[in-house]
C-alpha cells in the first residue's frame, strides 16, 4: 500500500514535470535565431512591424503537416500584412527521421511553394523550449510590452481532412481576436499529429 502511494506520488510528480516542459499560454517566449531554407537567419526580433507571430512546428514527412500546408500558406497570405507572420520550424532530428535534412527542407519549401520562413532547429533546442510534441503544432504569440506572450497553443483547425465546411479555424479565430484587441476564446487545443522524432536515448 505504501509502495503504491509512493508510486502514485511519483507518477503525479512526473506528470507535473511533463506538463511544465514547454511554454504554456500566458508565458513569455525567449527569442531564437535559426537558419531559414534560404540560408538567412530568422529571429522574432527581425520583424519590427509584427504585432505577433504564428509559429508552426511542421516538417517534410508528416502527412498531417503536409495536408495543412495550403492552409498555412493561406494564413500567411491573410495575416502577415496585418502583423502576424507565419514562421515554420522543423522539430524533427534528421538523424532520427530520414527526409528531414536541411537539403530536404530546401527542396520541400520550393516544391510546396511555402511563402514563409522554414527553419531548421539543430539539436532540437527550440523545439524542446517550446514543448512542441507533434507536427503540426502551432503557437500564436502576441507582442506585448513585456515580451512575446503565448496566446494560443494547438491545432490550426478541427478538420485535418479539410472537408468540413463548418470547421472551427482555431488559429484564424485567435489571431483575429488578438488583432481586435481581445484574447482568443479558445487558447488550447489538442490534435492528432505525427510525434516529433528525436534520437533514441
Amino acid at each position: 500500500m505504501k509502495r503504491l502511494l509512493m508510486l502514485s506520488l511519483l507518477a503525479l510528480a512526473l506528470m507535473a514535470l511533463a506538463q511544465e516542459t514547454g511554454y504554456q499560454v500566458g508565458q513569455v517566449v525567449t527569442d531564437f535565431t535559426l537558419k531559414n531554407t534560404d540560408q538567412q537567419t530568422v529571429s522574432l526580433a527581425g520583424y519590427p512591424q509584427a504585432k505577433g507571430y504564428i509559429v508552426i512546428f511542421g516538417c517534410n514527412t508528416c502527412p498531417v503537416s503536409r495536408g495543412y500546408e495550403n492552409r498555412m500558406v493561406a494564413l500567411q497570405d491573410k495575416f502577415a500584412a496585418r502583423g502576424y507572420p507565419v514562421i515554420m520550424i522543423n522539430p524533427n532530428d534528421p538523424e532520427a527521421q530520414p527526409g528531414e535534412s536541411f537539403e530536404d527542407m530546401q527542396q520541400h519549401a520550393q516544391k510546396s511553394k511555402l511563402n514563409f520562413p522554414y527553419l531548421e532547429d539543430p539539436g532540437q533546442v527550440i523545439t524542446r523550449r517550446f514543448g512542441a510534441l507533434r507536427t503540426p503544432h502551432v503557437f500564436v504569440l502576441q507582442k506585448t510590452p513585456k515580451g512575446n506572450v503565448v496566446a494560443y497553443i494547438g491545432a490550426i483547425d478541427n478538420d485535418p481532412d479539410n472537408g468540413n465546411n463548418s470547421k472551427i479555424n482555431y488559429v484564424q479565430n485567435a489571431v483575429t481576436a488578438l488583432l481586435a484587441g481581445q484574447q482568443p476564446e479558445v487558447t488550447f487545443t489538442k490534435a492528432v499529429g505525427c510525434g516529433v522524432k528525436s534520437r533514441r536515448s
Binding site: 507533434r134 478541427n158 492528432v192
Partner: protein, 161 residues
Amino acid sequence: MPVKPVLYIILLHAFLLPASAQQVRLVTLDELERRFTAGGDTTYVINFWATWCGPCVDELPHFEKFRQTFKDEPVRVLLVSLDARSKLRGQVLPFVKKARLQNEVILLNETDQQQYIDRISPEWSGSLPATLFVNKGKQLRRLQEREFTYDQLVATFRSLK
C-alpha cells in the same frame, strides 16, 4: 465427390481463414470503455496508429510479437487506427491484410479530436504513435506517447503493477 478436391477445399480454407477472418470494426470510445470494464483483470494494450504514420507502421510488428509472447497471459492487444473513416475500405483494410496483422484492429469511430484525445488520456497531446495500458481490475490506466522498440514495450508492460 472424390476425396481429393474435398481435401483441397479443406486445406484451402485452413489457410485462408486467418486472413479472411481479419476485419476492421468501427468502434466508439464508449464501446471501448465498456470492453475494458467487462475485461475485469485483463490488461488491454491499446496501440493508437494510422496508415499514414511511418513510425506507427514500423512499430506494429512489435505488437504482433508481443501478442505471441504473452498469449497465455490475461493480455489483449488492440490496434486502434485513427485513420479517417473514409479510408477504411481503401487504405486501412488493404494495409491490415497485406501486413497480415493478427491482433484485433479497430478504427476509432469518433470525429471530435478535442473530445476523444482527452477522454483517451488527459496526458496525451495527440501525437502518434501512442499506447494506452488499461486494467480496470487494477485501476490502471497509463498512456505512453512514444514509439516503442519491442524490448521497451515488454519492459513497460512488465513495469505495470
